[in-house]
Symmetry: C2
């Protein structure tokens, strides 16, 4: 299906980041013309090294997706707009609420307004999050699960989903949103632990450190490998039936924290694990076990994840072993 991308013009906001650069690779492979908009905000994962293999084949614009005039100029000629520029940490959203709103809500409103005004035919792909669900009442969790986010990050992702629905109802603008579970893989930022827990633990293991796990470590998460994520995202984006849809995007497999850490330690060959009590502020934000119900995306796109956690962690570790200096 991704053959449809040949010759298409695609804008990726946040395209120097983890997900964006991996999507850019695949788009380029299928013959799309890629434009990247990135502001390289110091806290986040924008990294020139992420696009080193395609840097001469893509157009790079340094700028802020909250800047309407920048966005309008870039959106004008695009077939697809993949909006990934974001404040990506639910933990940080607690300490910088206004910034979270501004980065996460203003940017997509600028994109939607630009589409409405100068390019209503463009199709938008948006990275939402499983954090919109909040406390999990049912696993596996499907898209009809109640949405009661426990973080400002989740509140704003939900607001963005509502914007997309509104602009479709009012102006016919097409979009597809993905409630991504826990993504991991090559190119995730490795400078701090505030997101990308798998990446951070790989770093700790590589440095021979002790990895602390809260509680009994039995809490389950759905870890999705980046190449699976990219494939699912783009399959949805180019699907002919898309009007305005929301899909879960995960592996569909639940893995306990402790199992994830043990898989990392085994792959890396160093590091250790220690159980510690939950810190107060984490416990309140703990959503409970999460496993993404992938039925909707499977039935519509015939897509499912193909990389299991062991294999994905092995590939991720190999990447960082070779490219450590660009991410530490």
């Amino acid at each position: 299906m991704l053959e449809k991308l040949e010759g298409e013009k695609v804008l990726i906001t946040g395209g120097l980041g983890f997900i964006g650069s991996n999507i850019a690779d695949t788009l380029h492979k299928f013959g799309a013309h890629v434009t990247i908009l990135d502001s390289i905000m110091s806290l986040y994962g924008g990294n020139y090294y992420n696009i080193k293999d395609i840097q001469n084949q893509v157009t790079l614009e340094l700028g802020d997706a909250r800047d309407y005039l920048v966005v309008e100029r870039l959106v004008k000629d695009m077939d697809y707009i993949i909006h990934l520029a974001a404040q990506v940490s639910y933990i940080d959203s607690r300490h910088m609420p206004v910034e979270d709103m501004d980065i996460n809500c203003r940017s997509i409103l600028c994109i939607l307004e630009a589409c409405r005004r100068v390019n209503p035919e463009a199709i938008i792909g948006f990275s939402s999050s499983r954090m919109v669900y909040g406390k999990i009442q049912k696993i596996p969790t499907d898209e009809e699960h109640p949405t009661n986010p426990l973080s400002l990050y989740g509140i704003h992702k939900l607001t963005c989903e509502r914007y997309l629905k509104y602009y479709h109802q009012e102006f016919g603008i097409k979009s597809v949103s993905f409630r991504i579970s826990n993504p991991y893989g090559p190119r995730q930022q490795m400078k701090h632990s505030k997101y990308s827990i798998v990446g951070w633990f790989i770093r700790m293991a590589m440095e021979g450190q002790e990895i602390q796990v809260f509680g009994d470590g039995k809490q389950k998460r759905d870890y999705v490998y980046i190449h699976d994520l990219v494939n699912g995202f783009l399959s949805g984006l180019v699907h002919e039936k898309i009007e305005c849809e929301i899909f879960n995007l995960g592996s569909g497999v639940g893995t306990s924290f402790i199992e994830m850490i043990e898989t990392i330690i085994e792959a890396v060959g160093s590091g250790s694990v220690k159980k510690v009590p939950w810190p107060e502020n984490y416990e309140r934000l703990e959503t409970g076990d999460y496993i993404s119900d992938q039925s909707k995306i499977k039935s519509l796109f015939q897509w499912s994840s193909s990389v299991n956690l062991k294999e994905g962690i092995q590939k991720t570790y190999e990447f960082y072993r070779k490219n450590r200096s660009f991410y530490w």
Copy 2:
């Protein structure tokens, strides 16, 4: 119950406006110390004349509720914060989406952050809207009705409600939100028709104009008179059991458009009515009949509206007849 307000310090954002100035009057009457923050944005209803009777008894600060430093300074010593500063038109939110987000979401985040940092004991009163419900599936409509807003205005009011819930869960900040139906009465702005439909029709009748009604005019709305609204709002604000609650605030009575207009024409003694087809962009935003289910607020506060539409329109008309030059 409002006797509890004596000696209390209350900040009203948007306090020069329609609802804010009427609340200020009542607060002053019960012996509260009132501080008003208002930015007198030209589109909205801020009007110095609204506080002429109490101007020497309240503290007036001109400033923007989106300015964190202004908000923090004012919030510091307050017992209650009544947040009414807002972009108040769901129609305008269609044309100024980013501004709607900025005015409606940023301001309340500034207030919540200021409370968290310098005054976590303060109690917040917030004006939400019945527009959070969207297409009405059941009338009368209670607070458990699904929330699928049809406008950016409604989306942002819902986001604000989620902020209040989050700050209560995370930081214990108390608040009460009111999903206000269609408020009307003295001091509503009379310069354009984008909100305050009752007020606008009173003006048209006073000018002897023909009032156009869309479709058959049978669509029902819940019109709540300002003095009832103020009483319900303040009863909720000072209620000892409030932690973080949302209440409908309306009359509980459904009145058809045509009946409302006929009541106006009769009270004013001039003007006429004409039925016209729905314009395209209005029809899509039409929520269907709305009548506010007042059970929750009645059972907790023993509050209910006491001014019927005929009486309310008569009082409103008399106000504008005497004070026309300050509102036209």
